[in-house]
């Protein structure tokens, strides 16, 4: 089947395209992107008029997602997580290996991919463990993991605490061409901290996690990446000192990339105290930091230091969050809130343009994990995200598609949302709040 997306603003940074274009989809591939493709040249195609003001871009990839399967299906499954992804405009997710059992062998990787094929929504790229059992001692069988379909390795949830193991991992993966993703956090500086070490935590009597707990390990990883030549990708940056370390590494030509989550460039630790004191949906790791850190994240997004926006989608059952603050698990869901938050907080205030947003959500994430996508080139998979940048969106936690509802953005009114999500040419999500006629066959 062919579909011709007529009109709309098409942004495809990889091909230098930004303007009113048509996109012709043939089966599961992009066939052609051009100014005004006459329907007569695509006989039998369904002609889909894209409303004025909508944006057609290569599908978004969220490279930091916890799908929780196998083992924690009460929080999320591959099926519910990928449904949440496409509802949030993501055509692909990379999923973290801290499942139960952990993804440190081909058997678990294959299980996840089987579940993803059954769900048949977003593409799923498993990420394997750096260390066997995520114990931080010996390397997992990383070549086997890659052969089974893993696109990167990480011990996410935990840092690679040993500098020696990080060295070996970066050396070993350089042979395989996959990155090591590090959850940077010095465990001796974090201790049993639960919130950013600053005024708010001090007032509320919460044990602190200083920004330096993150940045010392970012700096360490940059240095190890420099001398090993490996590619380190720093997960969920939150501290202003970390941005500085990555910026210096990039200037020195080190293969370092990094990501930031929307909550770290929008919220600060003031949310710990108000509007709901000790709201466990403001507890995540790394923690919400102070305004100077939040501003440094925004600066890194604007100046290019930050490569990727990733959500660190971390679903938790409400029972698990309905406890004392220091006993609650870290993390919030992010897949369905990310795009509205980015449009509202980054694009509409003029901090970045839509083209840069597409780089952060599509082009760069595809490059970091080295997968197809991030482009509308002819022959590429027809993974497409269509944005309605001016659509008023209200976040309702109870209406999230994800199995878990742990978000601090409940009730937020935002400007901008997802109109539709296409994976392999199929419309896997169509926002009921907008009207696009997907099935109209052109009169012959």
């Amino acid at each position: 089947m062919k579909r011709l997306l007529k009109g709309g603003r098409v942004i495809d940074p990889a091909n230098g395209i930004d303007g009113t274009y048509d996109v012709l989809i043939d089966g599961d591939r992009i066939a052609r992107v051009d100014r005004d493709i006459p329907p007569s040249t695509a006989p039998g195609a369904r002609v889909v008029p894209i409303p004025a003001g909508f944006v057609v871009c290569p599908g978004f990839l969220d490279i930091h997602v916890h799908l929780r399967e196998p083992g924690q299906e009460h929080k999320e499954t591959v099926a519910t997580g990928t449904a949440s992804a496409v509802a949030g405009g993501f055509t692909a997710v990379a999923c973290m290996p801290n499942t139960s059992p952990v993804n440190d062998n081909a058997g678990v990787t294959e299980y996840i991919l089987k579940k993803a094929a059954e769900a048949n929504l977003a593409r799923v790229y498993p990420i394997g463990c750096v260390s066997r059992g995520q114990k931080g001692e010996t390397l997992a069988d990383i070549a086997e993991l890659k052969a089974a379909g893993c696109v990167a390795v990480t011990d996410d949830g935990h840092p690679v605490a040993s500098a020696l193991l990080m060295r070996r991992a970066l050396e070993y993966t350089s042979m395989l061409g996959i990155p090591v993703i590090d959850h940077c956090e010095d465990p001796t500086l974090k201790l049993d901290g639960v919130a950013h070490e600053g005024y708010q935590a001090a007032q509320l009597g919460l044990k602190g996690i200083p920004g330096a707990a993150e940045s010392v390990m970012v700096a360490r990883d940059v240095h190890i990446a420099e001398f090993t030549g490996g590619h380190v990708h720093v997960a969920h940056m939150s501290a202003r000192q970390s941005i500085r370390a990555v910026r210096e590494g990039k200037h020195a030509g080190v293969k370092v990339t990094c990501e930031v989550a929307p909550h770290h460039f929008i919220l600060t630790d003031e949310r710990l105290a108000a509007p709901i004191p000790y709201d466990t949906n403001t507890k995540m790791n790394p923690p919400l930091r102070e305004a100077a850190d939040r501003d440094a994240m925004l600066e890194g997004i604007v100046d290019g230091t930050i490569d990727v926006i990733a959500t660190d989608h971390a679903p938790h059952h409400y029972d698990e969050k309905h406890v004392e603050f220091d006993r609650a698990p870290f993390g919030i869901v992010g897949l369905e809130t990310a795009v509205p938050l980015c449009l509202d907080a980054l694009v509409h205030p003029g901090k970045i343009g839509l083209r840069r947003l597409v780089e952060l959500l599509s082009v760069n994430p595809a490059r970091v994990i080295n997968v197809v996508g991030g482009t509308l080139s002819a022959g590429a998979p027809a993974d497409i995200t269509i944005l309605a940048p001016d659509l008023p969106v209200t976040i309702h936690a109870k209406d999230l598609v994800s199995k878990s509802k742990n978000t601090p953005f409940d009730g937020w009114e935002l400007k901008g949302g997802v109109a539709a999500t296409l994976v392999g040419g199929r419309v896997v999500y169509a926002n009921p709040a907008v009207t696009i006629d997907w099935e109209r066959v052109q009169p012959s």
Binding site: G198, A202, Q203, L204, G205, L206, G208, E324, D326, R327
Partner: protein, 333 residues
């Protein structure tokens, strides 16, 4: 209501410019941070009337007759729990003590479920102590009962600050303009946080002293003067308040040894001579003699440490009475 005398609000009154209050128009007492100066003054004034009840031969009034108060303690406590219990009994409330060791919490029940189960039995007030900062807020969101925070983690211990203020006011007549030096483990202290809120709201000048390892982050934003010089903090002080140094903290390298702590920060008679001649010495207890305080100071004439304990009962009676509706409740009954 019976013919028993109702507590009379003393004449001291609220700070100038604030309207007088007759009751705490709030469901809970979670922290001093949320109280206005007028509310603090109301509690302190009411406590004066309550203190008189404790000096009678028959130390009981029927004010809270028929009310059920649950003392829910998830942390061991002798002083605070006993003080609340005596306060409740003097007001004729039906009281019930639940300590963590005898509750189902050890069987893995969540705090929320414990609260819901208690709530199903319709208590009027729950006095809670918990090791997690913010736990009383969770209870407050779940329960219709009034929640009184009897100490939550490192966050607040509001009734301690109120009894401290009451004790200071007894000796100094006012809080405004006093120099209060607080020395000890500031980082882990809920007593510190409640006292800073209370004393600064009431116009006192608060100085805090500790090694940098035991200072909360951004202490400068708390509205106090922070120093690592105990001498500087104590100089000219009207009140010196010491906070307990837990010896386990040595294991986490917060300070090298009890001996060194005492050498640099311990409150000795020599250091105390820097304070005003009429200085009073306070400690929320339990004390480590020879660590944060020399025995000569703890037992000296300027020590009001046992007055603090006595006053704790009166202040807690005032809080229970005012949260139950104060004078308005009695008129309605």
């Amino acid at each position: 209501m019976s013919a028993q005398p109702t507590p009379q609000v003393a004449a001291a009154g609220p700070p100038a410019g604030e309207p007088a209050l007759t009751g705490l128009r709030r469901k809970d007492l979670l922290g001093i941070a949320e109280l206005s100066p007028a509310e603090i003054a109301l509690v302190l004034d009411t406590a004066e009337a309550m203190k008189e009840i404790g000096s009678r031969a028959i130390k009981k009034v029927p004010t809270l007759r028929g009310r059920t108060v649950v003392n829910l303690f998830f942390e061991p406590s002798t002083r605070t729990r006993t003080s609340f219990e005596i306060a409740e009994k003097r007001l004729s409330a039906d009281t019930l003590n639940i300590a963590v060791a005898t509750s189902s919490v050890t069987k893995g029940e969540t705090l929320a479920d414990t609260a819901l189960n208690l709530e199903a039995m319709h208590p009027d007030m729950i006095v809670v102590r918990h090791a997690s900062s913010g736990a009383p807020y969770l209870l407050s969101r779940i329960c219709r009962s009034a929640i009184i925070n009897a100490g939550d983690g490192m966050h607040e211990h509001p009734t301690q600050a109120l009894l401290d203020a009451f004790t200071i006011r007894e000796r100094k007549k006012t809080l405004a303009g006093l120099k209060v030096a607080i020395v000890g483990d500031l980082l882990h202290s809920r007593v510190l946080r409640s006292n800073i809120h209370l004393l600064t709201k009431m116009g006192a000048h608060v100085w805090v002293a500790a090694p940098p390892t035991l200072m909360p982050a951004d202490i400068g934003r708390f509205g106090v003067t922070a120093t690592t010089s105990v001498e500087e903090a104590v100089e000219g002080a009207d009140v010196v308040m010491l906070l307990r140094i837990q010896l386990e903290r040595m294991q986490s390298a917060f300070f090298p040894s009890a001996r060194e702590y005492f050498r640099v920060f311990g409150m000795t008679e020599a250091r105390l001579r820097l304070a005003r001649p009429d200085v009073i010495i306070m400690h929320p207890g339990p004390m480590n003699r020879g660590v944060e305080i020399a025995s000569e100071v703890a037992d000296g004439p300027y020590s009001v440490i046992l007055d603090q304990v006595s006053n704790g009962v009166a202040v807690r009676m005032a809080v229970l009475y005012l949260l139950a509706g104060g004078a308005e409740h009695e008129t309605a009954a």
